[in-house]
């Protein structure tokens, strides 16, 4: 098990055991002052052991809630380098980045993973990372390598934000699914699309950026006016959009009222997961023309206690082992171009050839203004 010493179950039960023991000794005075003593010793005795993250044989990864990796792969890292990985998660991607920025120069860990191109400038401007060129960077396509001169961040994965559609819905009505942004604004697809709030949701923002990329800094507003006139529904987060409103998701089946949703290119394969029999095709499809690429980066935190271990972890994040593990863990595509996608992806997923992209600098410069304009245009 990775992070054996600070792993999932060890620290807490040890403390729990301690205090249960204490509790049985004072059976007849459950609420007496001894309980006070127990708590104090619990705090004193166990409080410190959990914070001990500076061991040189531990490397700490600070990340967001969506981070996932298989045990096998993390074990392999330990075998290969001797370091154990401790994972600290801090809410969604945005809040994890912000926490890291607030803790600049006194970081909680050695490596941060999970800053995407929409937030990258916040991390770079905040001097969160120190440069390091991870091994295997040469196998990453050039267009993914932001900050290529200094290598303060390492691209780890990409994911495409695309409009998904419910195959059954369109098949039953003998209606062609839309194929482009333009189609989405056509009366034929009136009241069918649900998207997320660009101000609070990462896919929502990605979709907005996609339309900006498609229609230009001047044209996107007109497009959104048309979308709005065509009955686009905006909900606050991906969960509501996908689970509750989208008719194609398993969770929304039978109650979701929108057959078009802004989600990810990897959503269709996930819909197949858990089915006893693998169907011919995924119940949902992806409209490839609407795909906007998000790239996730990792970096060595400035002030890292274990810089050497951090570098090894960055190398590992770009290693073939980790990159091959990525898709089924986080439902994203590996950054390396020489890694094969799993069968689930190749069979049910969409390989988006030419997604829309946008430079992090441009996003940083305009994001706030665009989101504000979008908010007053669409929401108010």
């Amino acid at each position: 098990m990775p992070g054996r010493k600070f792993g999932e179950t060890l620290v807490l039960p040890a403390c729990t055991r301690f205090h249960v023991h204490e509790g049985s000794a004072m059976k007849h005075r459950v609420t007496s002052v001894l309980a006070v003593t127990a708590v104090v010793s619990l705090l004193a005795g166990c409080g410190s052991s959990g914070t001990d993250g500076t061991d040189t044989d531990t490397v700490t990864l600070v990340t967001h809630d969506s981070f996932a990796a298989s045990k096998k792969v993390l074990n392999e890292f330990t075998e290969r380098t001797g370091y154990e990985v401790r994972v600290l998660r801090g809410g969604d991607a945005g809040s994890a980045v912000n926490q890291a920025v607030l803790n600049k120069d006194n970081p909680q860990g050695d490596v941060f993973f999970g800053v995407d191109n929409t937030l990258l400038s916040r991390a770079l401007d905040g001097d969160l990372f120190v440069p390091y060129a991870a091994k295997g960077l040469s196998n990453v396509p050039k267009q993914l390598r932001a900050d290529a001169e200094r290598n303060r961040v390492t691209p780890v994965d990409t994911g495409e934000i695309c409009v998904n559609y419910d195959r059954d819905y369109f098949a039953e009505r003998k209606l062609e699914p839309p194929r482009t942004f333009e189609d989405l604004a056509k009366p034929r697809y009136r009241d069918l699309l649900v998207t997320e709030n660009a101000a609070t949701s990462s896919p929502g923002l990605g979709f907005l950026l996609g339309t900006v990329r498609e229609y230009g800094a001047d044209g996107w507003r007109d497009y959104w006016k048309k979308l709005k006139a065509n009955g686009v529904e905006v909900v606050d987060g991906w969960e509501q959009a996908y689970n509750d409103r989208f008719s194609g998701s398993a969770a929304g089946k039978g109650k979701g009222d929108r057959p078009l949703v802004v989600s990810y290119a990897s959503s269709p394969p996930v819909e197949v997961l858990g089915k006893k029999e693998r169907p011919e095709q995924a119940p949902t499809g992806v409209i490839e023309d609407t795909c906007f690429r998000q790239t996730e980066y990792a970096g060595l935190l400035s002030g890292a206690a274990n810089e050497k271990g951090g570098k090894a972890l960055l190398d590992f994040l770009l290693s073939k082992t980790f990159q091959e593990d990525l898709p089924l863990q986080m439902f994203v595509s590996p950054a390396r171009s020489d890694v094969d996608l799993p069968e689930l992806f190749t069979r049910y997923g969409a390989t988006v050839e030419d997604p829309l992209t946008m430079a992090p600098e441009r996003i940083a410069e305009n994001r706030e203004r665009w989101v504000d304009e979008w908010t007053s245009l669409v929401l108010r």
Binding site: M1, T60, N197, Q240, A251, S263, V270, K275
Partner: protein, 588 residues
Amino acid sequence: MSGPANGLRSRTVSAEPAVHDTGGPAPGANASRPPATRSVRRRAAGVRLALMAVPVGFFALFFAYPVVTIVGRGLRADGRWQLDRVGTVLGDPGVQQVLWFTVWQALASTALTLSVALPGAYVFARFRFPAKRLLHALVTVPFVLPTVVVGSAFLALLGRGGALDELWGVRLDTSVWAILLAHVFFNYAVVVRTVGGLWAQLDPRQEEAARVLGASRFAAWRAVTLPALVPAAGAAALMVFLFTFTSFGVIQVLGGPRYATLEVEIYRQTASLLDLPTAAVLTLTQFAAVATLLLGYGRLVRRREAALPLVAAAHTARRPSGAGQWALLWAVLVTIAVLLLLPLGVLAERSLRGPDGGHGLVFYRALFELGDSAAFLVPPVEAIGNSLAYALAATLVSLLVGGLAAAALSRRAGRIVRGFDALLMLPLGTSAVTVGFGFLIALDEPPLDLRSSWILVPLAQALVGVPFVIRTMLPVLRAVDDRLREAAAVLGASPFQVWRAVDLPLVRRAVLVAAGFAFAVSLGEFGATVFIARADHPTLPVTVARFLGRAGELNYGQAMALSTILLLLCGAVLIVLERVRTNNAGEF
């Protein structure tokens, strides 16, 4: 049953100085106490100070310090306070819109909750009916469940294809009604427990006396019962207002992007935009509002404790008689079934669905496996153990801090101490993201680098648990007749021995209730937990949120399954609490 008139024994709770001010020979008063000597008084002050040390330290370190740090980070630039930001932010039309919405939805939610829950409080207080205790426990379950868990189930009820839609074609998911109804759902128990708890102890003969004097049923209620209930109802209303004013999860899940409360906006400014100055101003605004509410609450609670002829609750409940009472009972039961139990039922039903139609335990089995798409490094079911361990630690901390604070506050004291009473409730009205981020930047230096320590989670949970402990224990402690303590002291007992011999036996049940409530609240705590970067011991609510954040039936199903487990755990705790609940076990 014994003849009701004979079975009632009157008891006067006279806790507050207000009672004694009248100076009359009212029973139970300590009016004839000899004046304390100076040294005794000084020692009492010393004891109080010692008792206060831990709670004050706890709140200073784990609440005030982090919050002040993050607000300071936002409002200080170049070594100077940038107070002009306050005007800029509050002058912003967008912010004003948020403020307006925050206030009016809280007012509307409070009014709606009171109107729906007050009949419930009456029914629970005055009627005997089968499974009453079970139901009393169940209506409290929503209050301790995290909004993230119930939000989606609630949506299934009010939204498209939900029960309302199927029956009457009504959809509320995009309207503000969904928010209001969800607030009723979450806060129903606050009113039923606070108001109903007192109502059950009001002597029914007060109303009878009015009836004999010529007042109709309603007139008697209005003249006698209503004035007695007003402080409790006011306190409950303020609590509901506080909870809805600072509503976060419900607004996020049900409100859609058009509705934002102050709390949601603080979250957005902090977690998404990292606009700390704006967040700081908003936090201060919320603080001011919450502090005002809490001071008002404190006044009402003290009035609630004023001398009323109280009797044992067990004697006041009767079988409903007459068509009117039966109709009322049924109306309340149906309301509870539809508004409170149905969403919980939807949750359970969904957890039992199979991936290919039909029902089964597929999702529950999946919780024990590390599937090929593991979002976790351990089987999700371990979240249950994590949650229980965290909640246990949080309960111990809450009991320690809350118990000491209650002990200190129960001694008659001046205005400063009363202010402290309100202060201890402040975390209930503080944005979780503010506390979470505050922890992160305040507790970052040894020896207090607790940022990634597991203890941070129970500490954050304890911030929410402590107010419940205090509110449960304080009234009981205050009701302990001082003469008992004096009798023990005269017999040669030290203050500690007095406490053990007199206070402890009387408050033991209250301690159990407080512990149970703190435990349940900690189990369901989500906000602060999720904003703390922590080693990977996800709690149940956090795990549910992670599952909900992923596509696919299996993830959704496991989220429902874990939610159901959480629901059962909370329900079990609350049902046990019903058994030990005393007649006078505080306001919750």
